[in-house]
């Protein structure tokens, strides 16, 4: 099958049942997208499909053929970090950082839908992403920082 990932075309030899997560990580070595639970409950595997956040662990790769897939590796352009990545760095959000890719991708998707969400909208939008280190208040601060960067 042919997948369009980060604006690049990849031909993959894979069974139709294979999850997008396994294809990204094992076949294409795009390991920025993480495995956390395998049932769409933790958000570590979040990628964008046509700009919308999707859990790649419960998405079959075959089902997103021809669609625009964006992973954490595709966010920065010309060595310039995406405003959400920059914001999370500015705020120094993370501890173990294993959730970072998913948090960044979910935030990008959230801010695309709603560039200036309220705290309640942020909580609802991010409820599916787990940070076991409990950096949620920092992520919240990082999202506000990202809103500020994107506005300017």
């Amino acid at each position: 099958m042919d997948l369009i990932i980060n604006k690049k075309k990849y031909s993959v030899n894979s069974t139709p049942e294979e999850s997008l997560l396994n294809v990204l990580r094992n076949d294409l070595d795009l390991t920025g997208t993480k495995y956390g639970c395998g049932e769409g409950s933790c958000g570590a595997c979040t990628v964008l499909i046509n700009d919308v956040a999707v859990r790649s662990c419960i998405t079959k790769a075959a089902s997103v053929e021809g669609k625009a897939i964006t992973t954490i590796e595709g966010l920065a352009t010309n060595d310039k970090l995406h405003p959400v990545q920059q914001a999370f760095l500015n705020v120094d959000v993370f501890q173990c950082s294993y959730c970072a890719s998913g948090m960044v991708m979910s935030t990008v998707s959230l801010l695309k839908k709603k560039p200036e969400p309220t705290d309640e909208e942020i909580i609802n939008g991010m409820q599916g992403n787990v940070c076991r280190c409990g950096t949620y208040p920092r992520i919240m601060k990082g999202i506000h920082e990202a809103i500020k960067i994107q506005k300017s």
């Binding site: 396994n22 760095l89 294993y98």
Partner: protein
């Protein structure tokens, strides 16, 4: 004076190293001697690290074992500690930068690599800051003094004119300045670390004590960092392990013939170990499913029976702490309470599950493992494969968290066994369900407390028995003449081990709950009652700071409640105040806000410390409110994130964090202790709001009936 709990007669870290390897392979004796060769331990050849000289062979008392300075002035630090998100890669570099007088950007930390770093027992017990910190500070300060000696000799000037700043030696008379790299000339610093070397005063810190950002932060927000689970070696296979269907099940037979028929599959049956490896994960899974295994089952206690089971199987630990006569003091007490607390097993749920990659080169083994104890894993590998430690290198890349749950290296061991058979590197990454089932849990426990006070609110009697959860934090910080405190180890049906803060969470919960109930029965304000019975100034300070930040002393609205609690563990102090609201329609409790004061001596990195405190509180809320492992017939009934609730964005209360910076005290660890205050503070707030006194953790897994 009350004995400080870090001097307790109990072994507070009894669980830190308790978990044994999960498999023992039956390597035959010919293999054994084959690997051992002539019986002489073969050491690794000097490893070209790309970071300068290998520390191979340098004794640990040498500066060069800890620190290397390249000709361009780049500084490499070697420490066996593991970065699992506590941000020691940053904080330890800060203390070195400070003592040596170099900029942060010049420092590279080599952590958790058994071939490159001095031996380290492991990263647990909040030891990195109070023990590794001073060790590296002394090594850096000794290097500083040695460089000044060398410079003074080379320049033939009075040494007192020289100082090191920003990586340069400067002569204050001539303003002559030379980079330290030019003085050291790339040589190893062969001189003993001076144990008595003068360290910079915390008051004078310029790099330590500031909020330096996570040093490799960008590699994480870009997804570039390779956790062990992300690694891929040339020719690497993916491994899967056959797990027992339940705790207590033993393997009778396994038929691997179908698996072996699948092209490219390597299948191993060695003792109780059955595993497969294949070129991709789906083939490995297919091979695993084709194995027919027969198991023998043994009856196992269920969650419902666990607390009786722990009590029934308990033994008295002879290291009881005893003074006075508790039974006569209790019978004479004017206000008294006797209660039993139950604490459930909970899971660490590190977001990166256990992962290991193994590669054999002849008789030499390299294992990359997500673990808090790389040297412990090296020892375990030497044990199960019966090869000398020197033939094994364990490397721990920055890992997707641990919280005390990764003291072991099961996935690395499993990968090594499969790689040995395959003759190729193998990666094993546990699924979430495997992690929930076969990683170890925080122990369940039963705690009996009997306490008494006199009319004016002074404690007169304190009896405290903990069954199974552990000895950490078991002692009381309150002054009481008659006390009996005892830990009783029990037989745990589930695999159990360390968890952030160890048993201090359970012990603090029981103690601070009883303190609150006594205060209520005495009609004394719970803060006042605590202060009356405390003498430790550091505890009093955090209590008062938390109370002030919270606005303690005001009256909560209807159906709201305020609670307070405090505790000390591993040399740092915490106090928490919480406000909850009870929703009568939903029968549920919501934590609205918490004010937490924390003091761990001098602060190395305020921003990262605040992050640790916040994270501890939020993780602690999970165990306080709803986290628990359910099990029956040896099976974990909720081994999934959709069935085991962890705190999420919507669970976060408004947090007010106060950090007391005691620059006159050496920095203590901070990754654990902030977790111990929140559960009792919330419990006491629930009692305050509803009158309902709860005696179990979690408090409200299915809401609250009043």
């Amino acid at each position: 004076m009350a004995k400080k709990s870090n001097e307790s007669v109990f072994a507070p870290e009894q669980y830190e190293l308790a978990e044994r390897p999960s498999h023992y392979f039956t390597m035959n004796r010919r293999d054994f001697f084959g690997i051992l060769g002539s019986g002489i331990a073969i050491t690794f050849a000097a490893v070209n690290t790309g970071y300068g000289l290998s520390i191979e062979g340098l004794p640990e008392n040498q500066i060069g074992a800890w620190l290397h300075i390249a000709e361009d002035g780049a500084v490499t630090i070697y420490s066996g500690k593991a970065e699992v998100g506590q941000n020691i890669r940053t904080s330890l570099a800060q203390v070195v930068a400070e003592e040596l007088g170099v900029e942060m950007k010049k420092i590279t930390m080599i952590l958790g690599d058994t071939a490159l770093t001095p031996y380290d027992r492991g990263t647990f017990g909040s030891r990195s800051t109070p023990y590794m910190g001073p060790q590296l500070r002394k090594a850096a300060a000794s290097a500083r003094e040695l460089i000044l000696d060398l410079a003074a000799a080379e320049w033939k000037v009075d040494r007192s004119l020289l100082s090191i700043n920003d990586g340069n030696v400067t002569n204050k008379n001539t303003n002559e300045t030379v980079n330290i790299g030019k003085i050291v000339k790339g040589k190893q610093l062969v001189q003993a670390v001076d144990d008595k070397v003068a360290l910079k005063k915390i008051d004078d810190w310029k790099i330590a004590g500031t909020s330096v950002k996570k040093v490799n932060g960008e590699s994480f927000v870009t997804g570039r960092h390779k956790y062990v689970s992300d690694m891929k070696l040339p020719g690497m296979l993916y491994g899967k392990i056959l797990r027992a269907p339940a705790y207590g099940a033993t393997l009778i037979s396994a038929d691997l013939s179908e698996a072996k028929k699948i092209t490219g599959v390597v299948a191993v049956h060695d003792g109780d170990f059955v595993g497969v490896a294949a070129v991709d994960l789906s083939t490995a899974n297919k091979a695993l499913q084709s194995i027919k295994a027969e198991w023998k089952f043994e009856p196992q206690p269920s969650r419902k029976e666990i607390f009786d089971h722990l009590r029934k199987t308990s033994k008295a630990d002879d290291r009881a702490e005893k003074s006075g006569d508790v039974s006569s003091a209790f019978s004479k007490a004017e206000v008294k309470i006797g209660q039993t607390f139950n604490v459930d097993y909970i899971a660490h749920v590190p977001l990166e599950p256990r992962a290991g990659v193994a590669q054999w080169e002849g008789s030499k083994l390299t294992v990359w493992a997500g673990t808090q104890r790389p040297f412990g894993v090296q020892e375990d590998l030497a044990d199960v494969f019966q090869i000398p430690k020197q033939n094994i290198r364990v490397i721990q890349p920055d890992t997707g968290s641990g919280y005390g749950g990764k003291h072991t290296g099961e996935a690395g061991m499993e990968a090594a066994r499969l790689a040995k058979e395959a003759g190729k590197p193998v990666k094993v990454v546990w699924t979430r369900e495997e992690e929930f089932t076969w990683a170890y849990f925080r122990p369940a426990g039963v705690i009996d407390v009997k306490a008494g006070a006199d009319k004016i609110g002074m404690l007169t009697s304190w009896e405290f028995h903990n069954y199974n959860s552990g000895g950490s934090g078991i002692d009381t910080p309150y002054q009481v003449k008659n006390k009996l405190i005892q830990f009783h180890p029990s037989d745990s049906p589930l695999r159990q081990g360390s968890y952030r803060g160890l048993a201090a969470t359970a012990n603090n919960f029981a103690r601070e709950s009883i303190m609150d109930d006594l205060a209520t029965d005495l009609k004394i304000d719970p803060l006042e009652f605590r202060l009356k019975n405390l003498s430790e100034k550091r505890m009093i300070d955090v209590l008062e700071a938390a109370a002030k930040a919270f606005g303690w002393g005001t009256k909560p609205e209807k159906d709201h409640g305020f609670g307070i609690a405090c505790g000390e563990e591993k040399g740092s102090y915490v106090a928490a105040c919480a406000e909850i609201v009870f929703d009568r329609n939903e029968n549920d409790v919501k934590v609205l806000r918490a004010a937490v004061a924390f003091e761990c001596g001098g602060i190395i990195n305020p921003n990262h410390l605040e992050n640790q405190i916040m994270g501890s509180i939020i993780q602690g809320l999970g165990g306080a409110l709803f986290e628990r492992i359910d099990f029956k017939d040896g099976k974990i009934l909720n081994p999934k994130l959709s069935a085991y609730r962890v705190p999420r964005f919507g669970d976060v209360p408004k947090l007010d964090i106060v950090m007391l910076n005691r620059k006159d005290l050496a920095p203590a660890g901070a990754g654990e202790t902030p977790i111990i205050g929140i559960a009792p503070a919330v419990r006491n707030a629930i009692a305050n709001a509803t009158g309902k006194r709860l005696y179990a953790l979690p408090l409200v897994p299915q809401g609250l009936e009043v």
